[in-house]
Symmetry: none
């Protein structure tokens, strides 16, 4: 197995102004393909530190993926310093210069002079194509270590890594058995709670569990050999059973699962939002399928009169809002988020089978953005549970339920 490192460059990464999502992504994807990462490092835009790091890595690693520093500006130094580290000159790559010129020509523009820099590569380096940007990648040897230089723009970097670097590495090196990672998405549990629940599970040899925790979901990851999917599926089913009522989807994010369900049930959806301020509609419609079934959304701002103002009993008001939204928008299903007051909020769903409503209390203090995320996820979970015929009111670890109600069709007064 080759010793692989990633080197991220740029002051904005070194100083944490942007989170280095490329590095985290690459570690995961490489791992899934049987290449594990030995170390990561980050340097700024200073010549001396970049040069020293390239040399140090070249002497201690087999493969290094360098990310960033391929732009047209004067603080983009990767190609120049790579040439210095390998003791070769920079030379013009006519092929890439032509690509750049046609890139601009297609957009009806002339290439700025400063972009010529992006076609200057260390002598002996070969181009790694970037079909969607102006910074070409390149690969070269420095002191017997194989370097891939890649652009910082995430979409360009990811395309290059999956379509070109990974296949190239697989040609250079014998990989270990490919590994796959399968995922169970949970909502409403803590990581230590999940770990406690799963600690007596005896996994087959060669299987490992991992967790990835990001609001609002915790992913349980099952790593195992790529050539034995049956065993993996069996273990996955066991885990799902143990975490049952908090599992929102398996091997696909919750939103994709909801998209399938809505399409399958062929139901149009209308939304009215107060606490979530438009985030719920915006998030759901990130899924193409859900977008096709979404009718109107009504967002009640601070200056909007609504049933939520008229009634101090928020659960009832939120149910009334859902019912009215379903009727006014002529939708099959309506979801409503009520006001957030004293960390407490009500949610309601109005459906052809009746209406469900609940009031929940946040147990922690969240940022504005995270409040919207948590409440929107509970709302989406109500939709999922309705469409899957699941119980509507599960325990959510970080929310306290203070009220819940179900009104069958014949009890709804309009």
């Amino acid at each position: 197995m080759p010793k692989i490192a990633m080197l991220s460059t740029g002051e904005e990464v070194l100083y944490g102004d942007i989170v280095d999502t490329n590095a985290a992504w690459l570690s995961r994807v490489f791992y899934e393909h049987g290449f594990s990462m030995y170390k990561r490092s980050t340097v700024g835009d200073q010549r001396a530190s970049l040069l020293q790091e390239l040399v140090m890595l070249s002497l201690n690693l087999d493969v290094v993926i360098v990310n960033g520093g391929l732009g047209p500006t004067s603080d983009d130094l990767s190609a120049e310093i790579a040439a210095e580290a390998a003791d070769v000159p920079l030379v013009l790559n006519q092929g890439w210069l032509d690509t750049l010129k046609s890139f601009y020509a297609k957009r009806g523009k002339v290439m700025p002079e400063s972009n010529i820099k992006q076609a200057m590569l260390p002598q002996g380096a070969s181009v790694v194509d970037n079909p969607i940007g102006t910074a070409c990648g390149f690969k070269m040897m420095i002191n017997d270590c194989l370097f891939y230089f890649t652009p910082g723009v995430p979409s360009e970097f990811k395309k290059m890594a999956t379509e070109q670097i990974l296949p190239d590495l697989a040609n250079h090196f014998q990989t270990t058995q490919g590994r796959v990672c399968r995922r169970i998405y949970t909502f409403g549990l803590s990581e230590s709670g999940i770990a406690d629940t799963l600690k007596h599970l005896s996994l087959p040899a060669d299987y490992e569990l991992g967790y990835r925790s990001y609001l609002p979901f915790i992913e349980v990851k099952l790593f195992g050999p790529a050539d034995d999917l049956d065993t993996g599926t069996r273990v996955l089913a066991m885990i799902e059973k143990l975490l049952h009522s908090n599992v929102v989807s398996v091997d696909e994010p919750m939103l994709d699962r909801l998209g399938h369900l809505v399409e399958l049930n062929n139901r149009t959806i209308a939304i009215s939002e107060h606490a979530t301020k438009g985030y719920l509609a915006s998030w759901l419609q990130d899924n193409e399928k859900l977008a096709q079934y979404c009718g109107a959304t009504w967002i009640l701002g601070a200056k909007t009169a609504s049933p939520l103002d008229r009634d101090s009993e928020q659960l009832g008001a939120t149910l009334a809002l859902a019912g009215a939204t379903k009727g006014n928008c002529n939708a099959d299903i309506a979801i409503s988020t009520g006001k957030l007051e004293n960390d407490q909020f009500s949610l309601a769903i109005s459906t052809p089978k009746g209406e469900w409503g609940q009031t929940l209390k946040l147990q922690r203090t969240y940022s504005n953005q995270n409040v919207k995320t948590v409440i929107s996820t509970v709302a989406a979970d109500m939709l999922r549970r309705y469409l899957e015929n699941k119980p509507m009111f599960p325990d959510y670890g970080f929310l306290t339920r203070t009220q819940d109600v179900f009104l069958p069709l014949d009890q709804i007064t309009t």
Copy 2:
């Protein structure tokens, strides 16, 4: 100036399962105190990689802050490997053991056996106190490099860094003058475009420019000495003048600027969205001030009948929608985003002074999320320009304007 590095340890950081906020935080705080970070690196929990990295850093840096690996479990290896790197044994630190015992005693508990490990330090190391946790920090020399070992828990780490490590470093090393970073937020320019515009600017000694590019904004960062704010302000004004029509705010994000403007003008705002799907309302309301002035938002989904369907001429339809939204919601100002079709979209703003509308075309392919971000930013920029009495139709580098219109009050037919 000492060459300073930070080494983060742990599989969960290496694989990006948790974001290394400690590293970003430390870089910023050190910088503000006149110590700049030379590099950062990350290794997992393997003995070999940790040892190799400690040795490599000790030979090339003056100061290294190691973070993580001080816990009581078997995969916490920092103290043990530090001893190995310095070729000294681990010895019991009786002082810290007493601290640990009383830490547990105060909580009415007996210290678990496994915690003894946390009082075993490399011979010659001195304790760096941790008043709020069980993992003590320690400092020691390895190959003439000064190492500080710190716990991974962010609150403990930050307390230790500010209260002990920074003052200690200031004793060891002459610091340079503290530095500040000021920011100009631009929208609609490319990084190379900005660099071309600013390349003839001659900066005073000790000032540096940096860029931070993240959709949809590019921040121009001006780094300079903390004790000469006048010069900084003068340079900032020069840069702002050069980038004039694309500067959306200075020293505060655009959303904060908009919040101030809306409050100052005391205007209520209603929104209707198609292309942006709720993202515009959700984003604007992340700002507390804007949230107070937002009236209702109407989101037109795939299944909603609206003026946008009835009229194939989208600019006119979007203007009509803005006018209707303003009237129906009884707001001072209404903003509308029209349909996105063939990468083209219309936007309109209806105000007490008249209505403005424009149609723009995306020049690149974006993800669903990024499309919403870009269009919402243009919409917010129209609001800003209206409130600041600025020209409404500037050049946006990555958008092509195909139509624009202004209807003064007396030309609006309702």
